[in-house]
């Protein structure tokens, strides 16, 4: 793979990760948001595989495949089952309206790009230049966590943050050791399963997924 193809492929995939993060703020339907999350996982797996191919690192290619399997197939399938379980909560109810969240996402992207100038100068590779993209995805994920109250939206926010962190890890260190990456991915999978159990409990007790209803004590 030539250097320019490598750089442009990496740029496009990183951009896809950021775009999917913004799409989760843009769309209201939870189905569309989960699809965006699956595409983000796909792009993230491709980032790892492209770096692995470029550096002839078989371990990284395997990590990429595992990330792809976990984040593009298994986790979205789990969340889709939660969404399907409650037909009343097919749409998100953001605390901040959509245009304002989108403008905030734009501002957060600027913040990420401005604050990582010194970091990108430390890693003067094609991958290192893209670190701010990963940080933007992390910040957008935090924003989604803060402004969305439904349980499914919270899971989506955590996954956005995790995908962003994984992207920064791939770009900055050209791949963390296989064991560490596996540990992180399994952690997230576990978190999703726990949240799934929690949402099922929430629904059976309260009849909805809304975390705000946990503010008061019930018998």
């Amino acid at each position: 793979m030539s250097t320019s193809t490598y750089a442009s492929a990496l740029g496009l995939e990183a951009a896809a990760v950021l775009l999917c993060a913004v799409v989760t703020l843009w769309r209201r339907s939870l189905g569309a948001i989960v699809r965006a999350l699956a595409i983000q996982g796909l792009a993230l797996g491709c980032v790892a595989m492209v770096i692995g191919l470029h550096q002839h690192d078989v371990g990284l290619i395997i990590v990429g495949l595992l990330v792809l399997g976990a984040k593009a197939i298994v986790v979205p399938a789990l969340i889709t089952r939660v969404v399907r379980a409650d037909p009343r909560s097919r749409e998100t109810q953001p605390l901040v309206n959509v245009p304002a969240s989108l403008v905030a996402a734009g501002a957060l992207t600027f913040l990420a790009f401005a604050s990582t100038r010194s970091v990108t100068s430390l890693v003067p590779t094609a991958a290192g230049r893209l670190i701010p993209v990963g940080l933007s995805a992390v910040l957008v994920g935090f924003f989604a966590l803060v402004t969305r109250r439904k349980a499914v939206s919270q899971i989506v926010g955590i996954l956005l943050v995790d995908n962003g962190v994984a992207l920064v890890a791939f770009l900055a260190t050209a791949g963390v050791p296989l064991l560490v990456e596996l540990g992180a991915s399994l952690d997230v999978l576990l978190a999703v399963i726990v949240l799934r159990v929690l949402t099922t409990q929430l629904r059976s007790r309260l009849g909805s997924f809304d975390f705000d209803q946990l503010n008061e004590l019930h018998d």
């Binding site: 442009s8 950021l18 775009l19 989108l102």
Partner: protein
């Protein structure tokens, strides 16, 4: 025909572009209607039907509201005139149109804005409730699309280091890889949403509806009849074609003439027609599968376009 001077060649090329947009515009609208009808299981009117309708309207009596001022008859003429001027200077069939140095993206945007502003004023001018409502909605959508459009231009002009449209198209031809950069793709996505909003297509406005709750553009031009309505229809079709022509030449500029030779311009014209037709048909297919967005959700759509353009600018800063 290499004997003619470049200036005359550019003049001929621009003339060809205006005629192509003027005749091709209604045909594009007809083709999009045909695709829509076929997908919905209807036969649909022939592709040339809009041209026939326009000829019919031109023969009808000139009828204007009693209270209307000079703005009412001026608006359709100004609409067609500004789009025609824009068609002269934009690189549609050739990258060397007449007055090419003035073919700035900002010039193009504000030329088109003159026409739509006058049309909005004309909607108010007739003094009917519908006209005012339509104008209010159209201006709201336009005002929301404007920031997205300006940031998009910023993102597009960063690669060519110029907001001159022929220069951007030439730079893209010289470096085909620049189309596949995140910066350009974000900007083009934003541009497509803005084009759909500005030309009043689904999901922003339904051009086929006359239901008072939903119509935007149709409400604005409700008082127009006869030759005036024909001009408005032609102007709107030309504007859609022009915007789509600019879009396709930014996405895939291949085939566009870089000289003013007659054969090159002919090839450029054919390529332009084919590319615009493809994009038009794709848009029509999407329109069939889409419902009109609620009026109060249009800001969400255009805020999305704005953020896409912003991401384009920001990613252009680091990803080179």
């Amino acid at each position: 025909m290499s004997g003619i001077s470049p200036m005359i060649g550019a003049g001929i090329a621009s003339g060809v572009q205006v005629v192509a947009v003027g005749v091709g515009g209604p045909m594009l609208v007809g083709a999009m209607r045909k695709v829509r009808c076929r997908l919905e299981g209807r036969v649909g009117p022939p592709i040339l039907q809009p041209l026939v309708d326009i000829r019919k309207l031109f023969r009808k009596q000139r009828l204007r509201p009693d209270q209307a001022t000079w703005i009412f008859p001026l608006a359709p003429v100004a609409l067609v005139a500004t789009v025609a001027v824009a068609a002269v200077i934009t690189p549609l069939a050739t990258t060397r149109p007449a007055l090419g140095s003035g073919s700035d993206l900002f010039v193009l945007v504000y030329l088109l804005l003159v026409g739509s502003t006058l049309l909005a004023l004309a909607g108010l001018d007739a003094g009917t409730a519908f006209g005012g409502m339509g104008s209010s909605r159209a201006v709201t959508i336009g005002a929301l699309a404007e920031p997205a459009l300006l940031v998009t231009i910023l993102a597009l002009s960063a690669t060519a280091h110029s907001s001159n449209l022929p220069a951007i198209v030439r730079a893209t031809l010289g470096d085909p890889g620049s189309v596949a950069t995140p910066q350009r793709l974000f900007a083009l996505g934003s541009l497509l949403i803005v084009i759909v909003a500005e030309s009043g297509r689904l999901p922003v406005d339904n051009p086929a509806t006359h239901l008072e709750l939903t119509m935007v553009h149709e409400a604005m031009i409700l008082e127009y009849a006869g030759p005036d309505l024909a001009l408005v229809t032609v102007g709107e079709a030309m504007r859609l074609t022009l915007l789509l022509g600019v879009f396709v030449n930014l996405v895939a500029p291949w085939g566009v003439a870089t000289t003013t030779h007659v054969s090159a311009i002919a090839i450029g014209l054919g390529a332009l027609g084919a590319k615009v037709a493809v994009v038009g048909v794709v848009l029509a297919v999407f329109e069939v599968s889409m419902a009109k967005v609620r009026l109060f959700r249009i800001p969400e759509l255009l805020a999305g376009a704005f953020v896409l353009a912003l991401l384009g600018v920001v990613s252009g800063l680091v990803v080179r």
